[in-house]
Symmetry: C2
């Protein structure tokens, strides 16, 4: 029987329009690897009655309950009190925690503010999880009904450390864990991906299967229950079928990223790239330079947003711009070759197009984009028209340009 | 008495590590403006028992319950059945809905797949909310206990339309609504912002007050209960005190963005800008070109990631690079002036620094950044050292550069 978990994120600010609870993703992944299925996530504000209700409800329907947040020193931090009341466990001051807090402040030359003494209050019978990164200790409670309740800080680095070092051990081994694998796809829409994978999906058997789409990228998430330490035989079996159906649209698995795959290929071959961008406005350079050590293979780029900039910074011929227009295959190719030559890079990559809301007339609606790659013995070009909000057109164009570079690198290596 | 809402997001994929429920933010904002306080958010998978439990729990603790998702035609779409069982309301096929679905498919030259007939099943007594954008109708149920339960599709555009056109009307007017105002701050840390605003905060009275921080930006969110249509007197009163305490660190309110404020200033004055970037790798250009119509005032930019690129694309003096190093005030200033001159822009903005994880030796740790602005009668420079993950250093540097441009524009106008 698979054990089930509920995660409760505590804090009125998490119910507002501007904040996203970022802890849930980490907990979903780590719990799954430990064989615990996440069944519910709840977000609740700093209200004592609501907090008590959320904790009681969760303990009634999940084997493991993890509450994050509300352990700070202020009057808004009510998790300790709510749990104490919900479970009928009196709060007792923990002398060792008081000393630890005092020492922590003393190390910074401070005396402990009176408010922080609240952080040493512990429901009777709870065990303390030390916090190396902050003042809020974590708390672990086994209820009479055999449920496990963990109270953890909302600060991700503090919470994650406590999960890795203490909580997963307290949860203990499961008869089954969830093995996962993610397949990452570029250059196909969600429905094209789905169609190509129909035969593999039909043979998925006990492997759960989810397709997620983002601009310019599709992911297939597989999940399989297996005994701890066992091979994920179902996923292994599907892997080859998925890879064959996707061909060179499959650019990576699990934590691999499009920009990371390109970076590794360039670094491994001692080659370099430079970017000439119009419609993507610097997004290609920005994504490539998000990789640590990018200066070893990314030489630089140009954002040539006007015809004048395309001439001045990239040497694009004025007559070509006049004849074909800035959003055209010849100009995209000339931009790629122009930046490659100017910076002496192995490869040049270029984008030009209309991100919208304005286009370039009836034949060039918003969403019209050309990308090009120039290399030592190779030049590639791709064009498409996909309308959409400005940000989506730009993001899709960034990924398409880097994907064309990836394919060019593969072809040059073959 | 303020009415309270719970939002239930339905779908097993929302419990996985990769997906974020994006509907909650919209609902929090719209409900608040209608005077409904969002008290709980719950995420639950496609499990019949869990779904029933989530709906029953929500109806026990909230006046308005909005469930999104699970209304599609597949066997995973269980919201109708779960609500029918939880409330003891039999499902009845709605003849008008069947006809509407058949006509919808017929318009596309298709006959309705048998599975879609499930989407015409309605719990007895529920009213139907038409869906103009998809096949899943929304459903609205008033329970015997006087609670309002709305079942809406998970697709944002479909859900949002139903909320605006039907749900808010069904919720009706409240005696009080939530008025909100957001203040946006650059160039101050969260704790510096907090310190400056202590006197205003102490006088906040009935106005709720939250500070949120992101790299290079701090936001203060105010919320006040007021009668519908009334002025938010408390927020108005605090506005001047907050503005005075923040000075030119306050760059905007509500939906205003740093890049939008700069864009409006440049467009209004008929001026232009160009960017020369090293450490930000194209991020300054990318953020500025996210604004529609950017081509009217953004001329272009250069990502000069190597010394050679700084010389070739920006004309930075080789001797200056050798003497001061690429991460230095003189080089930042030369880059800003170089791009301004080369592209004939009114303003040039430049960044150079070490994003990490590597730095430039003991005196130049990762997180060392210089930004500079060059203008017609003005040159500005700013430097700092704030260690952090590579992405945070880059993001903070992007915002700091655009903020220095904003201040330069203000000073030039003064």
């Amino acid at each position: 029987m698979t054990r089930r978990a509920e995660v409760i994120a505590i804090g009125s600010e998490l119910l507002g329009p501007s904040r996203v609870d970022s802890n849930g993703s980490f907990l979903a992944r780590r719990l799954g690897a430990q064989g615990i299925a996440l069944a519910f996530r709840t977000i609740v504000g700093d209200d004592p009655a609501d907090l008590r209700a959320a904790v009681s409800t969760a303990l009634g329907r999940a084997d493991v309950v993890i509450a994050t947040g509300g352990l700070g020193p202020t009057v808004d931090d009510l998790t300790r009190e709510a749990v104490s009341e919900a479970l009928g466990l009196p709060l007792i001051e923990d002398a060792a925690l008081v000393r630890g807090l005092e020492e922590r402040f003393a190390r910074h030359g401070l005396s402990m503010p009176p408010a922080n003494r609240r952080q040493a209050m512990v429901p009777a019978g709870a065990s303390v999880i030390p916090n190396r990164h902050g003042t809020a200790p974590g708390l672990l409670i086994r209820t009479d009904a055999g449920r496990l309740l963990a109270l953890l800080p909302g600060v991700p680095v503090e919470m994650e450390r406590m999960v890795e070092e203490t909580l997963l051990g307290a949860i203990g081994a499961s008869e089954e864990v969830f093995a996962t694998r993610v397949f990452k796809v570029s250059g196909l829409t969600e429905s094209e991906t789905d169609r190509r994978l129909q035969p593999a999906h039909a043979a998925a058997g006990g492997v759960e299967w989810t397709i997620l789409a983002a601009p310019g990228q599709v992911e297939i998430h597989l999940r399989e229950r297996v005994p701890p330490g066992a091979r994920a035989a179902g996923i292994e079996r599907l892997d080859a079928a998925i890879a064959a159906a996707l061909g060179d649209h499959l650019f990576g698995r699990d934590d691999q990223t499009l920009e990371g795959v390109v970076a590794a290929a360039l670094a491994g071959r001692g080659e370099s790239v430079a970017a000439a961008e119009s419609v993507t406005g610097g997004g290609v350079a920005r994504l490539l330079t998000s990789i640590p050590g990018a200066s070893r293979w990314f030489l630089g780029g140009v954002v040539a947003y006007t015809d004048a900039a395309k001439r001045a910074l990239l040497g694009v011929d004025a007559a070509m711009l006049a004849t074909h227009g800035a959003v055209s295959e010849p100009v995209a190719r000339a931009m790629a070759e122009g930046i490659r030559t100017r910076l002496g890079a192995t490869w040049g990559v270029a984008t030009t197009g209309y991100a919208g809301p304005e286009g370039g007339g009836p034949d060039l609606p918003p969403g019209t984009v050309h990308v090009a790659v120039a290399g030592p013995h190779l030049a590639e070009h791709r064009t498409w028209r996909v309308p959409g909000p400005r940000g989506v057109v730009q993001e899709r164009s960034v990924r398409s340009a880097i994907d064309l570079l990836r394919r060019s690198l593969m072809r040059a290596a073959a």
